[in-house]
């Protein structure tokens, strides 16, 4: 596809054919080469053709081919003429990342990290076959879909301060469980409080490098060597089913004629289909917030049990990277409400935004970028420039480079465990084959992804963290 170079890290697909707006890609030449290897650009172009799209169809540095929209795609739609699309959010609704700080330093946990990890592995259900620890009734589940992480806090999992330090305070207020299908509820009941499998993980990490001392301090990150905990998971089968249900109901309601890709099915935001999807998606977002809230609580319990105290284990932040939200942004000099789809992209609000916690309002929000299993992760800072550059969005992770099948063929889980052990990283998993699928070499270079984010100005470097203990589903 014809690309226009804007600068070293910015490329444009000029408006042509059915496109209503251009597409803009933030990537270095190296990342662009990977992006060009699949259908990412074609998909970004398809998104640019959708009704009511504003400004540009954006592509983040870690982008790869998705379903309908690319992973790492950001698009905003007018509330009157625009659309909402399940394919613009993804199947794992509110897949996201929660980060806890601790008062512990590396020296405090080195000798105990095996035990810490083993205990976390016992407390936090993971893997495909494992159900949650709580047997829920359907009425309680429906309450969770409305209250989100607030339900978990009411029931003794964590504190109200955690809610302050969560996107949307842990609850999308437009959530409505009545539009969530019986099948989705059935999938949600046994899975609350579970990590799941695939690329989801829980890591005990240490701060490897601080780039911005002042901002890091505001986030509670004080020194290199400090121990953090990162939790990466989503809305499990409930969210997958909501996405699937609405893809099919939109097909039945609007037909698939004229769609360049069937996964690009969408409904006018104002239509009843569009509203029902938005409210159900919000319910799934809330389920995922409650899920991470419970897991974080169990992690604190384990730290208290093994190391004597969980004091100081304050939540830095919890971000969604698969979501659609109504936000105020400026288009052609006019501020208006838009429906922002972030699929494999993280919100990166700069200072002053009312949506971010008061404690961060002077600097901007923390953006949490998980690397692949066993590699570095990053904490970035949301910027004021991101508003104009990407509707306040940046990358969400490393992005895959190699297929799972190929990874299983090339790597052995036990070998990866031994390699990580040599680097001082403990690993626990329910499946060695699952570990091979998630081999670090199967992913793009996360360092390059965040470098581009920093240089473009859509998310600035604050700290680099590396794992000392990894739990995989």
């Amino acid at each position: 596809m014809e690309l226009k170079r804007i600068n070293d890290n910015t490329w444009e697909i000029p408006k042509h054919g059915e496109m209503k707006v251009p597409a803009l890609i933030y990537a270095s030449r190296k990342l662009l080469d990977a992006i060009r290897g699949d259908l990412t650009l074609e998909q970004a172009k398809n998104v640019a053709c959708l009704p009511g799209i504003q400004r540009m169809s954006y592509v983040m540095p870690d982008a790869h081919q998705g379903y309908g929209f690319p992973i790492g795609g950001v698009a905003a739609f007018d509330l009157e003429e625009g659309i909402i699309s399940p394919g613009g959010v993804g199947y794992d609704i509110n897949c996201g990342v929660r980060l806890l700080r601790t008062d512990y330093m590396e020296k405090d946990v080195t000798a105990r990290r095996k035990e810490l990890l083993a205990e976390i592995f016992k407390e936090v259900p993971a893997g495909v076959g494992k159900g949650g620890v709580t047997k829920l009734s359907q009425s309680v589940l429906k309450e969770i879909l409305v209250k989100g992480a607030g339900w978990a806090v009411e029931n003794g999992y964590g504190t109200s301060n955690d809610l302050q330090m969560t996107e949307e305070q842990g609850r999308m207020k437009d959530a409505d469980g009545t539009y969530v299908s019986h099948r989705a509820l059935e999938r949600g009941i046994p899975q609350l409080g579970t990590l799941g499998a695939g690329n989801h993980f829980l890591e005990i990490q240490k701060v490897d490098r601080i780039y911005d001392d002042d901002v890091a301090k505001v986030f509670g990150i004080d020194a290199e060597g400090q121990i953090l905990v990162m939790i990466h998971c989503g809305s499990r089968g409930l969210g997958h089913q909501v996405a699937s249900d609405y893809i099919q109901s939109m097909e039945n309601a609007f037909g698939i004629k004229g769609l360049p890709d069937r996964e690009l099915i969408h409904a006018p935001i104002k239509s009843s289909q569009g509203q029902q999807y938005y409210r159900s998606m919000s319910a799934a977002v809330n389920y995922a917030f409650a899920n991470r809230q419970m897991i974080a609580h169990w992690v604190r319990d384990v730290f208290k049990k093994v190391l004597g105290s969980s004091q100081g284990m304050r939540q830095v932040y919890d971000v969604c990277h698969n979501v659609a939200k109504i936000e105020k942004h400026t288009v052609e000099g006019r501020e208006k409400d838009l429906c922002i789809h972030r699929k494999g992209a993280t919100r990166s609000f700069g200072p002053g935004r009312i949506e971010i916690p008061e404690a961060y309002r002077a600097v901007g929000q923390p953006v949490i970028i998980p690397g692949s299993m066993g590699t570095a992760s990053y904490i970035l800072l949301g910027t004021p420039e991101a508003e104009a550059l990407s509707f306040s969005s940046t990358a969400h992770g490393a992005g895959r480079l190699m297929s799972r099948h190929e990874a299983i063929r090339r790597f052995r889980g036990e070998q990866i465990r031994d390699d990580l052990a040599k680097k001082g990283i403990e690993l626990q998993s329910t499946s060695w084959k699952g570990i091979a699928e998630e081999a670090p070499a199967a992913y793009k270079d996360v360092d390059e992804v965040v470098r581009v984010s920093h240089e473009v100005g859509i998310g600035r470097l604050v700290a680099r963290v590396v794992p000392v203990g990894v739990m995989k589903g």
């Binding site: 199947y91 059935e186 699937s244 069937r262 996964e263 799972r404």
Partner: protein, 141 residues
């Protein structure tokens, strides 16, 4: 005839399933889906679940049929081992599929190594060529 083959796909998983009849290709697509999560040959036929789905076209029928596999895994911890009595009919413009899934409930001696989150329409193909049906599916993992 080969039942299915797994094809390279960067982020997720793609497969092709084959059959002399459409029904056989559908059944093999179900085994291919299961093979991305567990060894279906290991799952003993101890439990069964009737499956009944419909679709506005063959693609939607296939999507809904395959979705039963992660659905039963999540809700019943059911590991599919084989498919019996699969029938596909079309009436009044609607496709209907009936089948029986046989397999076993997850226990610790089984290894579940992957998680198919969802079936997708991406690159989906259902084609007949020289008395052989080929189904292609990409699943989200």
């Amino acid at each position: 005839m080969q039942k299915y083959r797994i094809l390279p796909h960067t982020a997720d998983a793609k497969f092709q399933a084959f059959g002399a009849a459409l029904e056989e290709a559908f059944a093999n697509a179900a085994l291919a889906t299961a093979s991305l999560m567990w060894d279906w040959g290991e799952a003993k036929n101890r439990q069964s679940f009737p499956v009944s789905v419909q679709g506005i076209d063959l693609e939607q029928l296939l999507y809904r049929f395959l979705e039963e596999i992660p659905f039963l895994l999540n809700t019943k911890k059911f590991l599919l081992g084989s498919i019996k009595d699969l029938r596909i009919e079309k009436s009044d413009g609607i496709y209907r599929l009936e089948a029986v899934f046989w397999g076993d409930e997850f226990q610790d001696h089984y290894e579940v190594f992957g998680d198919v989150k969802a079936i997708t329409y991406s690159e989906m193909k259902i084609e007949q060529c020289n008395d052989r049906w080929t189904i292609q599916v990409v699943v989200d993992m």
